[in-house]
């Protein structure tokens, strides 16, 4: 995987900084010390994930490699890199923004589609991003329903969110373009594990990549920073 040095967008990061409104800070301060990668839990279990390489690519403007990579989506979002960084670079925010950039170029939609349901089915209609429903058959058999658990603990059987609050968060979602965005990506169904069969299992494990999201043509992602089992470029 030789890199074409003449293809890099060398002023990308500098131009990005003012637009990002301070969401990302000072990647150019990176010393390349590697403390981030050394403590990274994602790097421990997915050997090609390497924050140091990603931030280097951002600084150098090797944009195509970052946004088309699958490694970009392997970050655990733990923030340990920020804690370890001697220059206080808030790396998780870079991952967050680079993922948005990758999405605008058509990468990563399989992953985002799987998460969309949480917003569409839980957050916007109910104001709570976690469902009361359980899908794991073991839990269904061995644990009372949540409304009973709550009642026994002296709470109302169901946590309530007022209709007014729902109206407000939905207006925020409409005005900020979130609703339209969600309609564009759609989501994938969440299957009931207690009714699993071979067909459902296959669909559940598959990561469906839409061919297009709105006007964006989607693409597969690549291992751009090494080989999946570990090992060099």
């Amino acid at each position: 995987m030789e890199e074409r040095l003449e293809d890099w967008s060398k002023d990308f990061y500098e131009r990005w900084k003012p637009i990002a409104m301070g969401f990302v800070n000072e990647a150019e301060k990176c010393l390349g010390c590697g403390k981030c990668t050394g403590q990274c839990p994602a790097a421990a279990v997915t050997p090609t994930y390497n924050p140091r390489k990603i931030i280097r690519d951002l600084n150098m403007g090797n944009i195509k490699r970052v946004v088309s990579s699958i490694e970009l989506w392997q970050c655990f979002f733990c923030g340990g890199c920020y804690a370890a960084c001697p220059m206080d670079i808030n790396f998780p925010f870079f991952i967050f923004m680079l993922r948005l950039a990758a999405m605008s170029e058509g990468f990563g939609w399989e992953d985002v589609k799987r998460m969309e349901g949480y917003a569409e089915e839980e957050y916007l209609p109910k104001g709570i991003t976690v469902t009361t429903r359980e899908r794991n058959p073991y839990i269904l058999e061995n644990r009372p329903e949540i409304k009973e658990i709550r009642t026994r603990a002296g709470l109302e059987p169901k946590r309530k969110v007022t209709p007014r609050a729902l109206a407000e968060i939905n207006m925020i979602s409409d005005l900020s373009g979130m609703t339209a965005f969600m309609k564009k990506i759609g989501g994938v169904p969440v299957y009931d594990c207690s009714r699993c069969d071979a067909e459902i299992e296959r669909k559940c494990k598959e990561k469906v990549r839409p061919k297009k999201v709105g006007r964006i043509r989607t693409h597969d992602r690549y291992y751009n920073y090494g080989l999946p089992g570990g090992g060099g470029d």
Partner: protein, 314 residues
């Protein structure tokens, strides 16, 4: 306990009000309600009354970092939730590392960027609300530490956790995102251990103590195997020291460590017997909150041992 890196200056800055706004956690409300009842009851005994409202919604952190909601969509939602506390003139108490990080980071951003704050207040104006950025957001764990003198007084002489071996799991977001704002050092925290000792328990060290729980935020949904690998390593390390309780400070970590025990048994034949408990439940137990109130019937992991341990209390 040997060295301590707790930031006393920051601890002292945490207010001790009579009332605080209780920020409900999605995971706690719909999966582990004991986290909420524990926090509310324990803080009440320590002198802080919680005020709640059904107008409060999810903090929005999950849908934001899942890239389904752009910051332009979730920042107004954060401002809206915080305005609920502001209009009551209260600071906010959260029970979740994710909520703490998300609410603090976005509030901090809005406070530092007047143009953005103005634009967001324009949107909030349409619903008759406004965000000033005056309410602080505090984690229940740091509140307990702030109130440790009161806690010491209340458990004086009784040592309620006596004989219990407790392993700690701070999780990632509070200490890491709070590199300069959390009350303890990200790599060598001790404040939960200190609370455990105050309550009479014994801390047990395990090698994977500062490891992430393994959810990896969305990895548990999008790259399950990777999440299983990491959590297996964590649970193996915990099982090797066989603690009576593993105390966590975040409901998402709670869910992972509690529920993965069965998943790893089903998928990889592992055997675990590790009761997981949230700091609010643990402090609640120590202060005499009845076990019935702490919703232990929601727990999935370590049920055999949990039954034994709870006999200690009722």
């Amino acid at each position: 306990m040997k060295a301590q890196a707790v930031r006393k200056g920051l601890v002292e800055k945490i207010p001790v009000p009579e009332r605080m706004f209780f920020f409900r956690s999605c995971v706690a409300s719909n999966k582990y309600p004991g986290i909420e009842t524990g926090a509310v009851d324990a803080l009440k005994i320590l002198g802080v009354e919680m005020v709640e409202t059904d107008d409060q919604t999810c903090c929005g952190g999950f849908v934001t970092f899942a890239n389904v909601a752009a910051p332009t969509a979730s920042m107004p939602a954060v401002a809206r939730n915080l305005s609920l506390a502001e209009e009551r003139d209260l600071d906010v108490c959260v029970v979740c590392n994710g909520c703490w990080t998300f609410l603090n980071e976005f509030a901090h951003f809005m406070n530092g960027n007047q143009e953005v704050k103005k634009a967001i207040n324009m949107m909030l104006g349409m619903m008759g609300r406004s965000f000033k950025g005056t309410s602080g957001v505090y984690h229940v764990a740091e509140l307990f530490y702030r109130l440790k003198d009161c806690l010491t007084e209340k458990v004086a002489g009784s040592r309620p956790l006596k004989g219990l071996r407790v392993a700690t799991h701070y999780g990632c977001h509070y200490l890491n995102s709070g590199k300069y704002t959390a009350i303890d050092d990200p790599f060598y925290p001790t404040f939960i251990e200190e609370l455990v000792e105050i309550m009479g328990g014994t801390n047990v060290w395990y090698e994977a103590n500062r490891e992430c729980c393994g959810t990896g935020f969305s990895q548990v949904i999008n790259n399950k195997e990777v999440s299983y690998d990491h959590t297996e390593m964590k649970l193996d390390s915990l099982q090797a020291v066989d603690p009576d309780f593993t105390v966590v400070i975040c409901p998402y970590c709670f869910t992972q460590l509690d529920r993965m025990q069965q998943q790893l048994h089903y998928r990889r034949g592992k055997e675990y017997d590790l009761p997981v408990v949230h700091i609010s439940q643990l402090v609640g137990l120590a202060l005499g909150v009845p076990t019935k109130r702490l919703a232990f019937d929601a727990h999935m992991g370590g049920r055999a041992k949990l039954g034994q341990v709870l006999k200690h209390f009722d």
